[in-house]
């Protein structure tokens, strides 16, 4: 794919162009065996200790939204990336880029919210950095967090272990975060209030891995949503994934908003959901563990790994056919002629 000669917003949308930017521009230069794994986090073996290491930058607009803020997001995002690497998150760093003129009260609120989230996730923010840039250079505040965690003994999250027949579980209803942020950003009055699902998943993932350390794959469906996350898995593993449309949990109020605005909830970002691939015999106990957790009440099986279509995701629709659930290059644009 031709990634073009200028950076477009779509290069950061988490879809196909983001993927190609990373594999086409960054990966060839940084080239090493750890990066080549292309997981959300890197696995490091330091003097015999298995560590997971990850980083993410947070630029969300608006800074505050129903259910969270940029600070909570910065902690949960990185914590969740460590968790889906099969690790217990331990330490985070926090880098702040602040715009001249940002209200101190806002910063305090954001930092307080980071503290709360870190406490809940059981991580400590142990190092940091602050830069201030002139007014207009950025929009208020950007935060970068990096984190390290200790990989649970016996856990090995890897594309190579994904096999046909495994079940695909998702931990709850999709699209809450994207709709909450969007309605806040545009000041839309929705028929019913929508709250972001932003949450640290370390606890729930720990419970899953305690009873099923053999789980082959965990993933958090953030930017680009469930569809993009599953396409990444399909692409990395060469397996197919077949979903049941009717099994995929979406809150009625989110469904209603999606119907109104024309969005497909499967492509909408989540910040408190995890996708778990499990061997069939583990499905029941993993589901039970997830459901007993407050962030996994609506966990359910939404499909399975298949041999075909290789590298692609299909979705069996309510009316019988199977639709391709592709990775989008950019935005959801009509294809109907």
């Amino acid at each position: 794919m031709n990634i073009g000669d200028r950076i477009l917003l779509a290069h950061g949308s988490g879809g196909k162009l983001s993927h190609e930017l990373v594999t086409g521009v960054m990966a060839p230069v940084f080239d090493n065996s750890i990066l080549a794994e292309m997981h959300d986090g890197a696995f490091l073996n330091i003097k015999g200790v298995q560590l997971a290491f990850t980083t993410d930058s947070y630029v969300v607009k608006p800074r505050f939204f129903p259910g969270g803020d940029i600070g909570k997001l910065a902690v949960c995002g990185t914590v969740n990336d460590l968790a889906v690497s099969g690790a217990e998150p331990l330490y985070l760093s926090a880098g702040f880029v602040l715009e001249e003129g940002l209200a101190l009260a806002e910063l305090e609120r954001i930092v307080a919210s980071m503290g709360l989230a870190a406490a809940e996730a059981g991580v400590q923010i142990v190092t940091g950095d602050t830069k201030v840039v002139e007014r207009g250079a950025i929009d208020g505040i950007y935060i970068n967090t990096a984190g390290i965690g200790a990989v649970f003994p016996g856990v090995h999250i890897s594309a190579g272990r994904v096999k046909p027949g495994q079940d695909v579980i998702v931990s709850g209803c999709l699209g809450d975060h994207a709709i909450a942020v969007m309605s806040e950003r545009h000041g839309l009055t929705l028929p019913a209030p929508v709250v972001s699902d932003c949450a640290p998943l370390a606890g729930m993932v720990k419970d899953i891995l305690k009873i099923a350390p053999q789980v082959p794959m965990l993933r958090d469906p953030t930017r680009g949503g469930l569809a993009t996350a599953l396409n990444e898995i399909a692409l990395q593993t060469g397996m197919g994934i077949l979903l049941e449309e009717t099994a995929i949990p979406v809150r009625p109020e989110i469904k209603a908003v999606c119907d109104i605005l024309g969005f497909d909830p499967l492509y909408l970002a989540n910040e408190g959901k995890v996708i778990v691939l499990v061997e069939k015999q583990d499905t029941e106990k993993v589901l039970a563990a997830m459901k007993s957790h407050p962030y996994g009440l609506h966990s359910c099986v939404i499909g399975a790994v298949t041999a075909r279509p290789a590298g692609q995701v299909g979705i069996k629709t309510a009316i019988g056919g199977t639709r391709m659930l592709d990775m989008l290059t950019g935005e959801q644009l009509p294809r109907i002629c």
């Binding site: 929705l190 969005f263 644009l333 294809r335 002629c337």
Partner: protein
């Protein structure tokens, strides 16, 4: 004495050409031989000079009805003293592109035999000869010989073999030749794959009588045919048709029917001479006909539609199934959006929830072919879906191209392979978003490449980044050329007419990706094969909710009225306002803020919006439904043009907002829907023609190409074409390809080849 070596190119295989050559050589007292040579037929004849040349002349003059000669070369060579004439074995293909004949409807001779109780093929459902029968759907490889078809499973009995070997016989080298003794046969089974027990006569002929009885009882039967399975039921039985709709999950889209005779067609529909010829010809597509006043089929066959798609039997099995007065629904064997079922196992599984019984046969279908769909425009067949009977006949190009694979569009996909001056546009594939259809697409590309032995050097694809065909193209290890959607629509028509100088192209369709990243669809291009300039377009509108707005035309309609009247729109006294969903203010708010509300210059959406404002429908159940219904209700009513404006500039814009304003006013004064719809058509037609005239006066270009899905609208097409001709402009239309995206790949191919040549 003279010896000539003659090479004949064209559709010369599978059409009885070699037996014809044999008989001709015998008549002219010539020795020598004939053989199929991959893409061509090779002949050497030897004898007296006048007779040898008489032979060459007669090749052209007396060729079999289905043969098409595109080139005949004659060389004089050394006399060998050969007396007898023989038909030699075929040579394997030598890197050239062979011609493959389409499937051909049962010829009158075979039909007569099938219905003649004295004939040995009485009631034999696979009767065929060199003039008719399966070709494209059974051929695995070239050259075309029985062994390279799915008939290889059925060794001929001595009687059939004798026909096959006798140069004087109609079945001489008829590759699918078969009879009740040696050929394939039908079975009637139920959902559990067990034979229906009432069928007692051992030769299986009774399965047809039994099937007729089941259909008469109101049952739904899956019938395996030529290019796939049909779902059949009695078209006069409302209960049967209703349950077929429910089981197939198909709400409103009309079903096609098959009539047992032309008389039965004439009972239901108005049939012109041209339409009768098309119905009874060698292709036998589904022909869209106006219902007659005596029309009496179940309402659910083509609900609310003044037209219906009709075909006549095109295999002997159909002849055996339908009596002269019978009218059956014959819809493709699939659920909505899936490709037609053609493999037995797959059909039994997929059609199990739909069909009560299965009439199956044991001759494999190697390649699917849906029924083609044709409408008559200005006395000629205007193809809406190009498949059985047409594919894989090539479209002849005026110029040679580098071997090209054009990957086509997203919906109504077909792809195109070119070689030299021939373009092989694939059979209708369908909507690629459906996984089974996408797999069919990949499979077909592979089949065509093998069948025609084409190794594409470049790949052409649409600019739309999300088309699956685009993503497929980008995954190929070939040089790639991106082609703008509407440029491709126009170039496809230029290609079939061999137009090399620039034209004014009017491409009106739903949407296609523009070079500026917006969705185009009401385009006036000045185009040649290499490039185009956008001379004009319909003014951009906002599509609230993107794809959702395509499925719900009221969204764009509301946006148009909101732009015109603001929140005062609620005071308009038209039913549209009363029917507005509660959430309309939120949708307008989102559109204002640009949330999932792309800009489009689509013409198709204008028709949708008009249909919605007039009160025809606010959401659709199949692609294009609102626009189709607007055309139907306009019928032949005379309308009056509504106001519109052209915004001048280097890129002119057609602004229809005043038309919509006028439409609302007329609707408030309770003018009939027919009149409103007719006026809207006339307005669009006038605007198109005025825009073309402006471009013509600036460029001096007098050739006008019309294409794009909107020009499936015959009412609009008629008005536009007539007006343009009145203004002394020459109009070119897509006759060999559909105006919709089914023809897109041909345009992509020719543009890509030209760009490649000049790069």
């Amino acid at each position: 004495m003279v010896r000539l070596r003659i090479t004949v190119h064209g559709i010369v295989q599978g059409v009885g050409f070699r037996p014809f050559v044999y008989r001709l050589a015998c008549r002219c007292h010539l020795g020598g031989w004939v053989l199929n040579n991959g893409d061509s037929v090779c002949i050497e004849v030897e004898g007296e000079e006048p007779e040898a040349y008489e032979f060459v002349n007669a090749l052209h003059q007396e060729k079999p009805p289905l043969a098409q000669l595109t080139g005949v070369s004659v060389d004089v060579c050394q006399v060998k003293g050969e007396a007898g004439f023989v038909i030699k074995d075929s040579l394997p293909s030598q890197g050239q592109v062979p011609m493959v004949s389409p499937d051909i409807a049962t010829c009158p001779d075979c039909r007569r035999e099938t219905l003649n109780s004295k004939d040995r093929r009485f009631q034999y459902p696979f009767t065929n000869c060199t003039n008719c029968g399966p070709r494209y759907t059974i051929i695995k490889n070239m050259p075309y010989d029985r062994i390279a078809t799915t008939m290889t499973e059925f060794p001929m009995c001595p009687v059939c073999q004798k026909e096959y070997d006798d140069p004087a016989d109609r079945r001489f080298h008829a590759q699918p030749n078969a009879c009740p003794v040696c050929g394939p046969n039908y079975r009637l089974i139920n959902r559990n794959s067990t034979e229906v027990s009432e069928v007692s006569i051992p030769d299986g002929k009774n399965v047809f009588i039994e099937t007729k009885r089941l259909i008469a009882q109101g049952k739904i039967v899956a019938v395996k045919g030529l290019g796939g399975y049909h779902l059949a039921c009695d078209a006069t039985n409302p209960v049967a048709v209703d349950s077929l709709r429910r089981r197939k999950i198909r709400e409103d889209k009309p079903f096609a029917v098959m009539c047992g005779s032309l008389e039965a067609v004439k009972q239901q529909c108005l049939v012109s001479q041209v339409e009768a010829e098309l119905l009874t010809g060698a292709v036998r597509p589904i022909v869209l006909l106006d219902k007659s006043p005596a029309y009496n089929l179940a309402q659910q066959v083509a609900p609310g539609n003044p037209r219906i798609g009709v075909m006549l039997p095109y295999t002997p099995a159909h002849e055996l199934l339908l009596g002269p007065d019978d009218v059956w629904v014959m819809t493709s064997g699939n659920t909505s959006d899936e490709p037609i079922a053609y493999e037995d196992g797959d059909a039994l599984e997929r059609l199990n929830p739909i069909a009560d019984y299965f009439l199956v046969h044991n001759r494999d279908i190697y390649r699917r072919a849906d029924d083609s769909v044709v409408r008559i425009f200005s006395g000629k067949p205007y193809i809406l879906r190009r498949s059985r009977g047409y594919t894989p006949s090539p479209i002849h190009l005026a110029q040679k191209t580098v071997p090209t694979l054009a990957c086509g569009g997203e919906l109504k996909n077909s792809f195109c392979l070119t070689y030299g001056n021939k373009a092989y546009l694939s059979a209708h594939i369908g909507d690629l978003e459906n996984l089974a259809t996408y797999n069919y697409y990949l499979e077909s590309i592979d089949h065509y490449r093998r069948l025609f032995n084409i190794k594409p050097q470049i790949a052409a694809y649409d600019l739309h980044p999300e088309y699956l065909s685009t993503k497929y193209a980008l995954s190929l290890a070939l040089p790639k050329v991106a082609v703008q959607h509407h440029h491709a629509h126009i170039a496809a028509v230029m290609a079939e007419h061999g137009l090399y100088e620039p034209v004014i192209g009017v491409a009106f369709d739903g949407t296609g990706y523009g070079t500026d990243g917006t969705l185009w669809g009401g385009e006036f291009l000045v185009a040649d094969y290499y490039n185009f300039t956008r001379a004009g377009h319909c003014k951009y509108l906002t599509l609230p909710g993107g794809t959702k707005a395509v499925k719900e035309p009221w969204r764009l309609a509301a946006w148009l009225l909101y732009e015109l009247f603001g929140t005062n729109l609620t005071g308009l006294r038209i039913p549209f306002i009363r029917d507005l969903p509660n959430e309309w203010p939120l949708i307008m708010e989102a559109a204002k803020k640009g949330i999932n509300s792309p800009l489009t210059s689509s013409a198709g959406r204008l028709f949708d919006a008009a249909a919605s404002i007039i009160g025809l429908r606010n959401s659709i159940n199949y692609e294009g439904q609102a626009a189709v219904e607007l055309e139907m209700i306009a019928g032949k009513t005379t309308g009056n043009p509504l106001p519109y404006s052209i915004i001048p500039g280097t890129v002119k814009q057609l602004d229809f907002s005043s038309s919509f304003c006028a439409l609302v006013e007329l609707a408030q004064r309770e003018h009939s829907k027919d009149y409103l719809a007719a006026s809207f058509h006339t307005t669009i037609a006038n605007a198109i023609v005025e825009m073309v005239q402006l471009i013509n006066s600036e460029t001096g270009i007098g050739k006008v190409v019309l294409s794009g899905g909107v020009f499936q609208n015959i009412r609009l097409l008629t008005e536009v074409a007539n007006l343009l001709q009145e203004k002394c402009l020459r109009v070119y239309l897509p006759w060999q390809t559909p105006p919709n995206d089914g023809g897109l790949a041909l345009g992509q191919a020719i543009i890509a080849a030209e760009k490649y040549k000049r790069s």
